[in-house]
Amino acid sequence: MRSGLASRAFLAGGFVATLAYFLISSDLAEAIIFTVLQAAALVALIVGVRHHQPEAKGAWLTLGAGLVLYVAGNLVWYVYQVAANVTLPYPSVSDALLVPAYMLLLVGIGGVIWSRFARADAGSIIDAGIIGIAVGVLAWEFLVQNYLSDPNLSGLGRGVSIAYPTIDALTVALLALLIFVPGSRGPAFWLLGVGLVGQLVADIGYSFSVLAGSFEFGTTYFVGWMLFYVCFGAAMLHPSMSSLSEPRSSRRPELPRLRMAFLGLAATLPLIIIGFHLADLERGLTPGEGLGLLFAAGAMFLLVLFRMRGLLVDLDESRRIERLKDEFVSVVSHELRTPLTSIRGALGLVAGGATGPLPDKAKHMVEIASQNADRLVRLVNDILDVERMESGKVQMEMRSCSVSELFRRSVEEMQPMADEAGARLRVEPADAHVIADPDRIVQAITNLLNNAIKFSSPGSEVVLAAVSDAGEVRVQISDTGRGIPARHLSKIFDRFQQVDPSDSRDKGGTGLGLAISKSIVDHHGGRIWADTQEDVGSTFYFTLPAVGSMTQVPAREDEARVNELVKKGIAGRGDDVVLL
């Protein structure tokens, strides 16, 4: 489940079901496939929420309730229409279930998106609103007006017909919000996005077929609805689903350029519609329609102008903050390191005996000071590392590297610490190759080994292994230490999150090792997680993209020289990192 296997299986099963749906011509079989797929998506939601324990439980529950109504609404329709062969009136009891189902689904997805907000972001809401309104104008022009003038529709029928495109406009606004709000973009995010787009396309197809009076069961656009259930179910089973409702703070406005493009498009829509009417003289505008559209065009234009100004200011502001932060980081790295270099150097010389022998008590005191100077150096290095990594300033030097070589380097660095702790490091044979920045991955592995050794008792074993699985390599580091209490598991990769606050004193860690490892793995497009049992031990896993062992990337000569220098340098700094 952790590796996304269940998610892939759901996706594959869903596609097979969709294919079968269009190959089979029996209405009953189609009805059964559709209902089973819907029910499977509901089950996937329940299993996903239970297994991945996402935040914002209320929102996920609302989504679930929406799906239940969906299944019920469709089932009613199928029972009458297909099994009992009774033509339902429009609107029917099925619509009475489906309209609230849509609403609940939107509220649920809205709730999930809401929990992604680290802080109120009125700009994103306004932007999404503008785009939703633009789609609403389109729906009004092509659908709603026609529903209103359709003599075949009853009053209630009109109401229900208008409800669907209105919900679609809201869906577009939510989709825009999902894209605009900063947050993690794992496979679950993209699956949900693709699913919503499928849903939207099918809804539009449905609306037009109702308009033309040609609605037929199992037409092409049904693939959109099936895509929604397939993608939704797969998203729920993927480990990254829990990050869908996780807030991530970002000072930068997300995707300002894409937003401006969307907003520009939205602003010109009413004008395009006016042009459309002007060109088509037979369907000329009534003065009322013309005025309404002009008013909409003007209002949209002003709104968009207002937001564009805001986005430009945001862009300027974020550049200014970025620059300030750069200056700060550069000053901190120099100004803090200069006195630290003196302190650490002087203490190191005295503690190392280079300045002559010391009385036992003095030697002990100097050792304490020296160790803490080391810790301060590590802390400064780690803080700068985290900062650079999270601001995206670190460039990974990706190339093909052998996992066993990465393991060899990591173990070489950590062996002294393991010897001191009396722990045995065991490496299982691995012949896979990965695409990675070797220095950074060694840093991630040594951080994880460091933790494993730190929490191992003398005589115990720490195992380093790698498993190849469907295009990726999963690295795992297992210990038999005290384990991590379940309630801490979701926070261990955050900064300064030590399970026991006294750990940083007793174990000399900085509380940043796991956060850095996660950042490194994220930069490689991998995932990192832990399985643990209290008093039995923990296993940390992370994944990296695999390469076939045949596709070695040859390093150019000048690259090799740069890499050599980098390696020497990081190895030099490695002392700081390693001795943690």
């Binding site: 550069s330 790295s333 120099h334 390191r337 200069t338 630290l340 270099t341 003196s342 650490r344 150097g345 002087a346 190191g348 010389l349 190392g352 280079a354 300045t355 150096v377 290095n381 650079r388 670190v394 460039q395 030097e397 220095d439 020289r561 740069v562 220098l565 980098v566 020497k568 340098g569 990081i570 030099g572 700094r573 002392d575 700081d576």
Partner: protein
Amino acid sequence: MKRVLVVDDEDHIREIAATSLEVVGGWEVITASSGTEALSKAELERPDAILLDVMMPEMDGPSLLARLRKNDATRAIPVVFLTAKVQPTERARFSDLGVDGVLAKPFDPMTLHREVAAALGWSE
């Protein structure tokens, strides 16, 4: 015995690096606290290597390196940068300048001589 010129504008760091190389490494050390002083000492004393701080006022490490490389008397002396700027991009830039090694600050005074020797390919 190796003779190394240590250049750093910070008195304390210069002293520690010098002590480390002299006492732990057993080398002979000459020091300079500015680029100008380093240029004249390098020309006069012809050390086996120069350990050079990157961030210095007036003449910084890279400019000093360029001056050393232009002078026939000092062109061949290997230079190792000692820097608090430990970014891979910085390192790549330094290596383009033709520096022979880059070491990070803070350094471990008990192993500094070994790191310098390793960067320059000296056998001990």
